[in-house]
């Protein structure tokens, strides 16, 4: 048995696997299959100041090796999270990453203030949701906006702040450096890539929102590339995600420079994926003489 534990921005996790925001709700849905304490951490569904309805259906479209979603941050708001979801998560042994999103800087500041003094371990500031008109990706695609919001939110929280970046940009490195400069404690990437599918019979987009975010194995090489570029450009830790579907993918992501990783869409295909990936990491480490999984972070040897 290898040591899979990692310390990520000061937070101890028993393994580097975090279930990605939006793919795992608040952890209630999969407990019929296995205990939440199996996973290293959970990144909650994107939570906003007030309850949010989300976009009209259809919200899901299949793609080769992946899917599009246009859920649009449907959630019950921060108050419900604090009263109903967080107490449930506290019963388990796992790191809680509160994924938050707001339409304005003030909203984001208010959100994180409300998380002060709670058991939340890490704040993941989503400046990259492609599915909401206001805020969301608008913050994440402009480096000055990304810097400004990071600064304001960092000032309003005593918890580690991880900023989640959008891949829908020309230079991910510029954005990463901008949020690092304003005090981000970590960076997570990638959020979904903007995509579209059309039903050729009706000539209508499959998603009612016309466009949506692409995730799943299809995006994996893009995610590895971006994580590698960002990890090489910043000094703060990186949490890698996008298309991871097996232990080998997770190892690849860590070798690219991610200190921990998140998995999302793969769980729709295989709800046991978190358990299988953790077991697979153990096996791989044992076979390859790796005593602590952290040894492999950033060990890719570029040509």
């Amino acid at each position: 048995m290898a040591d899979l534990s990692v310390k990520f921005c000061g937070v101890d996790m028993k393994n580097p696997l975090i279930t990605a925001s939006g793919a795992y709700g608040y952890g209630r849905e999969y407990t019929d299959l296995y205990s939440l304490s199996k996973i290293g951490g959970i990144s909650t569904k994107g939570t906003t100041l007030y309850e949010k309805d989300g976009n009209p259906p259809p919200r899901i479209a299949e793609t080769p090796c992946g899917m599009l979603n246009s859920v649009g941050l449907q959630n019950g708001g921060i108050k419900k999270f604090l009263a109903y979801e967080l107490p449930n998560l506290e019963k388990n042994n796992l790191a809680v990453v509160a994924n938050v999103a707001g339409g304005t800087i003030e909203e984001c500041v208010e959100l994180v203030s409300m998380l002060e003094g709670t058991s939340v371990n890490i704040i993941e500031l989503n400046i990259s949701c492609p599915n909401v008109k206001q805020g969301g990706a608008a913050f994440g695609t402009n480096k000055d906006c990304a810097a400004e919001i990071t600064k304001a939110v960092k000032n309003a929280t005593s918890k580690p702040l991880m900023v989640k970046l959008s891949p829908n940009v020309t230079s991910i490195v510029d954005i990463a450096k901008a949020v690092e400069a304003e005090g981000a404690d970590a960076i997570s990437l990638i959020n979904t890539l903007l995509g579209m599918r059309i039903d050729i019979k009706s000539r209508r987009p499959i998603l009612k929102n016309n466009v949506g975010g692409l995730s799943g194995p299809a995006v994996f090489p893009i995610a590895v590339r971006m994580v590698w570029q960002v990890a090489n450009a910043v000094d703060i830790p990186v949490c890698g995600m996008g298309g991871i579907s097996c232990a080998e993918d997770a190892i690849e992501m860590m070798m690219a420079g991610a200190e921990c990783f998140q998995i999302g869409a793969v769980m729709f295909n295989d709800p046991y994926a978190p358990v299988k990936i953790i077991d697979g990491l153990n096996e791989w480490c044992d076979k390859n003489g790796v005593k602590n999984i952290s040894e492999i972070v950033g060990t890719v040897k570029p040509w």
Binding site: G22, G25, E29, D32, I60, T63, G66, M67
Partner: protein, 255 residues
């Protein structure tokens, strides 16, 4: 409660044009099933699972039956599975039909490939259920003998009159209601049909439960993908077909 596993196909039959009927041996899953729930099937080569309603439940033998129509590449690949092969199923998922005492009178209304889930609920009511089924044409007619075998009364309608009576299920439903009002109407089928059935139920003040479809990812309520507009206490919001449904009180959804 739900489970996931690889389950063997023990029987396969093509029962109409592009329509297949599979029986699966799945003791643990079967023990948990209620009529109206569905299974989420992984088809090799496709990223997302396919939701399919449970059409038959045999708790004694630990088997369930699913009936599906080829609609695209995923269901086409599913139709190629043979007896002895295993299917990766997640289930039973969702909330099934609300059942009354079995001596109450009910009407089930199935339109096209919406008919299979009606078989599971009609079984519970036996002779107290009238199963109205509608299809475009005779080549698409399914499950009529199965309804009869479980003592349900049957009314068959086709759009073109090539089997049963010519006309829509809603015509047959309206006629039945004139004779006797049931305690519950159950329906599954195209949205236009569900709208019309809900309307008839409302006008006659009969409770009505309808089974809906929406594109899904997780199937268990985690991703919030399968939204459906619901209404409760005058407030509209998005509920989710896999978690709040697939069966809904017709008064609680906005179609």
């Amino acid at each position: 409660m739900y489970t996931q596993g690889m389950y063997e196909i023990i029987k396969k039959e093509q029962i109409a044009e592009d329509t297949f009927d599979l029986t699966l041996s799945c003791r643990d899953l079967c023990d948990l099933v209620n009529p109206g729930q569905f299974v989420h099937i992984s088809v090799p080569g496709f990223f997302l699972r396919r939701p399919i309603s449970i059409c038959g439940i045999d708790k004694d033998s630990g088997t369930i039956r699913i009936v599906f129509q080829i609609k695209g590449k995923g269901t086409d690949a599913l139709s190629k599975f043979e007896v002895g092969e295993q299917l990766d199923m997640l289930g039973p998922l969702g909330i099934g039909f609300k059942l009354l005492e079995s001596d109450k009178k009910v009407i089930t209304v199935g339109g096209g490939i919406g008919t299979p889930p009606m078989l599971a609920v009609a079984k519970y009511y036996g002779k107290n259920a009238t199963a109205i089924s509608g299809f475009r044409t005779k080549d698409l007619v399914i499950l009529q003998d199965d309804f009869k075998a479980q003592n349900n009364k049957t009314i068959l309608c086709t759009d073109d009159g090539t089997a049963g009576e010519k006309g829509f299920v809603t015509d047959a439903l309206a006629r039945c209601l004139k004779e006797e009002k049931p305690d519950m109407i159950y329906a599954c089928g195209p949205v236009v049909m569900l709208k019309a059935v809900s309307e008839i139920a409302r006008n006659n003040e009969i409770s009505c439960q309808i089974s809906l479809e929406e594109r899904m990812a997780c199937g268990v309520g985690a991703c919030l993908g399968c939204a459906v507009k619901m209404t409760r206490g005058g407030r509209e919001f998005y509920g989710h077909v896999c978690k709040n449904g697939p069966v809904f009180d017709s008064k609680e959804v906005v179609l």
